[in-house]
């Protein structure tokens, strides 16, 4: 009986405040949806990674190394540590993405992997553990001349079985036939900086001997207990006889990296959900307090007849329980659909985990969390019922006790002393009133600027990122000068003469100016890692840097006897501007001074620029040229591309676009999604806020109408207040995005090891500082217009009499 009364009360209230309740449910559904999706994506990811780890027999501890090593010492180390169950040395040869091309003999289609920013390691299949698995989960063993390509590349470039893969080496191109695709437990992450191609052992050896690649090894261990990995790592690192100039990774760290990289979407969803829950809670607080104020006399009466506050609270809570429950059910259902879409990438890179108890439990727990937080806060706000005093409620219709009333009175007295109508000089009286109101009720209106600030940041940051990466000026971050035309020569037998042909033609072309060429040459560098001198391989662009060149993060362009390093290379070698660096080629050492450091995301972020004549035996050549004024660079590039079959000639913006198409593609979807989401949330909250606010402002509006303000003027006041609050939030959001937002993005990019440590947004000012704010503020204003339009038809007396 009592329950049916409570439910009837809840149902009546839901019907009475349809608009507000609908908006609250929308926000709660979104929160629940994001939280549940985040949890499900995370569960799927964990399950899929674990399954891949199990089937591939992933190593528990690995140590990468470049250069010479002593197998006997490694043998000794394994014997000394009984927790080492199995171990192996995997030999690999790494090639730059630009050195790999593909060709489809059946159709004649072709392309290269140069826009991939990943290191490509050619390996042969292991025999004991750390297997590369094919799509069926089997352990493939390619015959000579065959290659298995990482699944990520299959997706990215649409590669097919039967395609031909060409690797550019210093001894000419090597051809391999694609036999299938492999999943890689060690390098599965979509943010992994390297990936493994599976070839026959003799092909791996041939690629290593052909030159142009970087030989590396990974020492891998499987342990009796995964938890011992950290101890083994410590023991390995304190053993001076062992080689270790590369990364060391444990099983748990790998798992964490995967979850952090491929789970980024999930983490972002949980974070966005928390922000939405915060917004929903601010709203709930606003709504519940309003309800208590509206119904204070009823509450006073209930208290007067002796109902305990728990019973009174119990009357209001079911409504919120129903709404939150509904939101959790709907949000959960939507999450099931969204998870399928969001985990496609995970299913490709890892092995899809079977559905188990955790699959169901993860979203349910996430939804329970949302429910508990929301209802907890509702209870907290409703506990205000306890403080309502019978006399204040019944006589004065006030939710405040005497002390609170006295405090409010003092505050109000101070406020009215500060604002005097006689002090105002002409202008609009309505404007004066609304400013006074906004100041006095800032505590309530703050919700709007807050929401618009978040929406603006949410919309602008991805758009700035997209615009930066799409800008032709982004070449600055690619270690490439801002020129009009770029010609690339690779994958051909006689590179040097092909380069000479293109160069001669361009230099003789009066439509082009400032033609210069750079050779892609592999040098060895002496570096000291943990007190041990080792030799690293470094890809260096050699040429004349006296003309227009790139922007330097520190220092300046290299002159004769000087070299400039990418940020990551300078960091790894521990050198700064002014330091000397010894580089070797064909055993010949040369000492050069570091003239500058530049930011670059190409070649995995590692590279250098050396001033000098291009030596023979380069892996590739690049020719840059500027078009003279009035010449269409696109047309010239197309003409050269047509004429020189061996060269890939592109206008620079096209080169940037192609190279970064993967990154910009994901930024584009993020920017669109964030834009729609930001606009949606901002307008829903505006309408809901006004729905509530107008209820509170009814008597004020009625009074203004009685004393002679027209409905148009009254409506204008509400709209202008909304506009001002939305504009304030949006402007603050833009300022935040341009200042802290930029630093935040720079910091994240730095952490991601992409090769950029200081990103300056290249913004589209018209879009970001005019169109976006106009659309966002416009959405809020439109919400206000739609909500206030109804006021025109209202009987003004109803505003005063509550009818």
């Amino acid at each position: 009986m009592r329950n049916s009364l409570k439910l009837r009360y809840a149902a009546n209230d839901l019907r009475r405040n349809k608009g507000v309740n609908a908006a609250l449910v929308v926000i709660l559904v979104l929160s629940a949806f994001m939280m549940a999706t985040g949890a499900m994506v995370m569960e799927r990811l964990f399950g899929s990674v674990e399954r891949l780890f199990a089937e591939a027999r992933a190593p528990h501890f690995i140590q990468m190394h470049m250069g010479d090593y002593d197998p006997a010492e490694l043998d000794r180390f394994a014997e000394e540590h009984p927790e080492v169950e199995e171990w192996l040395i995997e030999e690999m040869v790494g090639f730059d993405s630009a050195a790999i091309a593909w060709h489809r003999p059946a159709t004649g289609e072709s392309g290269d992997l140069s826009d991939s920013l990943i290191d490509n390691l050619f390996v042969s299949q292991n025999t004991e553990f750390d297997f590369l698995l094919d799509e069926a989960g089997a352990i493939p063993r390619p015959a000579p001349g065959e290659v298995y390509v990482p699944v990520a590349y299959q997706q990215e470039y649409g590669l097919q079985v039967g395609d031909e893969l060409t690797v550019a080496t210093e001894s000419g191109p090597r051809d391999l036939e694609v036999q299938g695709f492999v999943r890689d437990a060690q390098m599965a992450s979509s943010l992994s900086s390297s990936t493994r191609f599976l070839v026959a052992e003799e092909d791996r050896r041939d690629l290593e001997e052909a030159g142009g690649g970087v030989p590396e090894i990974i020492v891998e261990y499987r342990l009796t207990d995964v938890d011992a990995a950290a101890d083994v790592q410590r023991a390995y690192e304190s053993d001076d006889a062992l080689s270790r100039d590369g990364q060391a990774v444990t099983y748990r760290l790998m798992l964490m990296i995967y979850v952090l990289s491929d789970g980024l979407v999930a983490i972002a969803l949980v974070f966005a959900s928390l922000v939405l829950i915060a917004i929903a809670l601010l709203n709930l607080r606003f709504v519940i307090r309003g309800t208590l104020e509206d119904e204070v006399r009823e509450i006073g009466a209930m208290k007067a007849i002796g109902l305990p506050h728990r019973t009174i609270t119990g009357l209001y809570l079911p409504k919120y329980r129903v709404m939150t429950l509904l939101a959790c059910v709907v949000g959960g259902a939507l999450a099931v659909a969204a998870t399928g879409l969001l985990t496609r990438g995970i299913q490709v890179n890892y092995i899809e985990a079977p559905v188990g108890a955790a699959t169901v439990l993860a979203p349910v727990l996430a939804l329970v969390l949302v429910y508990v937080i929301v209802i907890g806060i509702c209870r907290g706000v409703l506990s205000g019922v306890r403080r309502i005093q019978v006399v204040s409620a019944l006589v004065h219709g006030s939710v405040h006790d005497e002390r609170q009333t006295a405090r409010r009175t003092r505050r109000q007295a101070r406020r009215v002393r500060r604002s005097s109508l006689t002090a105002y000089r002409g202008g609009n009286l309505g404007g004066r009133l609304l400013l006074t109101d906004l100041r006095a009720e800032a505590g309530q209106w703050v919700l709007i600027p807050l929401v618009f600030l978040l929406a603006a940041v949410m919309m602008v940051l991805p758009m700035n990122m997209l615009n930066t990466f799409e800008s032709p000026r982004f070449v600055t971050y690619m270690g490439v000068p801002e020129v009009d035309v770029r010609a690339d020569l690779r994958f051909i037998d006689d590179l040097d003469s092909a380069r000479d042909d293109v160069l001669a033609e361009m230099e003789g072309d009066d439509r082009l100016t400032d033609v210069r060429t750079f050779a892609d040459v592999t040098y060895e560098v002496d570096v000291t890692v943990d007190g041990e001198e080792v030799r690293d391989l470094l890809r260096v662009e050699v040429g004349d840097y006296s003309g227009d060149t790139i922007e330097f993060f520190r220092g300046e362009r290299p002159g004769p006897g000087q070299i400039a390093l990418s940020v990551l290379a300078a960091d790894e070698y521990g050198v700064a501007v002014g330091d000397d660096l010894t580089i070797h080629r064909d055993g010949e050492p040369t000492t050069v001074a570091v003239s500058g450091v530049y930011q670059s995301i190409t070649g995995g972020g590692y590279g250098a620029k050396l001033h000098g004549d291009a030596p023979t035996g380069a892996v590739g050549h690049v020719v840059y040229a500027d078009a003279v004024d009035g010449v269409d660079a696109d047309a010239v590039a197309a003409e050269y591309d047509e004429r020189f079959a061996d060269a890939s000639v592109l206008p620079m913006p096209e080169y940037t676009r192609q190279t970064l198409s993967n990154l910009t593609g994901s930024f584009q979807s993020t920017a669109v999604l964030a834009g729609v989401f930001g606009l949606g949330v901002a307008s829903v909250i505006t309408v809901m806020f006004l729905e509530l606010r107008l209820t509170r402002e009814r008597t004020r509006m009625g009074l203004l109408s009685a004393i002679g303000f027209s409905t148009r003027e009254i409506i204008a006041q509400v709209r202008v207040k909304t506009l001002l609050a939305a504009a304030l939030g949006t402007v603050l959001g833009l300022v935040f995005a341009a200042t802290a937002g930029e630093s935040l993005v720079s910091m994240l990019l730095d952490l991601s090891g992409l090769g950029i440590v200081d990103l300056e947004f290249i913004t589209n000012p018209v879009l970001v500082y005019a169109a976006y704010p106009a659309v966002l503020i416009g959405a809020g204003y439109l919400g206000a217009v739609l909500r206030t339009a109804r006021l025109r038809r209202a009987d003004k007396s109803a505003w005063l009499t509550g009818g």
Binding site: T405, R408, T409, Q412, A413, R415, V416, R417, S419, S420, L421, T422, G426, L429, L433, T436, D437, R439, A440, T699, R700, G702, L703, S705, A706, I707, G708, F709, S710, T711, R712, E713, R792, D795, K796, S797, A798, L800, T801
Partner: protein, 256 residues
């Protein structure tokens, strides 16, 4: 009935139907009303009889469903919202049961607001009118106070000041003493009587026969229709108890 100056406010066949209820409810069912210039008309009736609805429809706060209303011979029902607002601003004053004020302005600024709205350039004249009203109704000492710092009686007197600041042709009062105790009620009614004596036309809705006795004429509303009226003549303190007795007897006959 002091109707020497002609008709100030008139309604013909006035109806008001609320379509938001199911079925629609007709609250005013064709009221013909004439309020003389300088008259103090009191509207009485049981709860739900349509008293307040009649007041808000003849004052232009609400739009009647049918019929017409005119003020000083000008048809109000044909006016647009902006023109009607202007009429309320310059020719009408309102006093409500609850003393509605803008919480963020002082008592004095609340009173000043309609005057400034009506004539933004005549700030000094408006200010001196407000000061005179504050003095007259004995609330000058609380003029700078916030609305929560004064008593209910002071607040309702401030509401009368605000209603008078634009020197209206007619003053509408909806249960002006409904939320006050008897001594504060008397204070407010004395103030209204004084205003009336100075020639202001008043239309007041009340439940309280003691307050109604202050009027020149009382009309009785039942189910949206004026069923009877009673002329009381000009009020004086000496005759107040006789008038009240007379009014009580009439109201009993009306079933009040």
């Amino acid at each position: 009935m002091s109707n020497a100056g002609g008709t100030m406010l008139q309604s013909r066949e006035l109806t008001k139907t609320y379509y938001s209820t199911d079925p629609p409810s007709q609250v005013i069912k064709g009221v013909d009303l004439a309020v003389g210039r300088g008259e103090f008309l009191v509207v009485m009736g049981a709860s739900g009889s349509g008293k307040s609805t009649l007041l808000y429809n003849v004052s232009g706060m609400d739009r009647p469903t049918g019929g017409s209303v005119s003020l000083e011979g000008r048809d109000l029902t044909s006016l647009g919202d902006a023109e009607m607002s202007r009429v309320r601003l310059t020719r009408m004053g309102f006093i409500f049961q609850q003393a509605y004020f803008l919480a963020n302005l002082s008592i004095r600024d609340n009173i000043l607001l309609p005057a400034l709205k009506a004539a933004p350039r005549q700030k000094a004249a408006a200010a001196s009118r407000v000061d005179a009203l504050l003095e007259r109704f004995d609330i000058a000492h609380v003029g700078s106070h916030g609305i929560t710092q004064v008593s209910g009686g002071q607040l309702q007197r401030a509401a009368i000041c605000r209603a008078l600041v634009s020197e209206p042709a007619v003053l509408f009062a909806d249960e002006p003493t409904g939320a006050l105790n008897s001594s504060m009620s008397a204070e407010v009614m004395d103030a209204l009587t004084g205003v009336h004596r100075e020639g202001t036309t008043i239309v007041m809705v009340t439940h309280d026969p003691a307050c109604a006795a202050r009027g020149d004429r009382v009309i009785y509303l039942r189910d949206g229709l004026v069923v009877d009226s009673r002329a009381l003549g000009t009020w004086s303190a000496e005759e107040s108890s006789r008038r009240e007795d007379d009014l009580y007897a009439w109201l009993r006959d009306m079933g009040f």
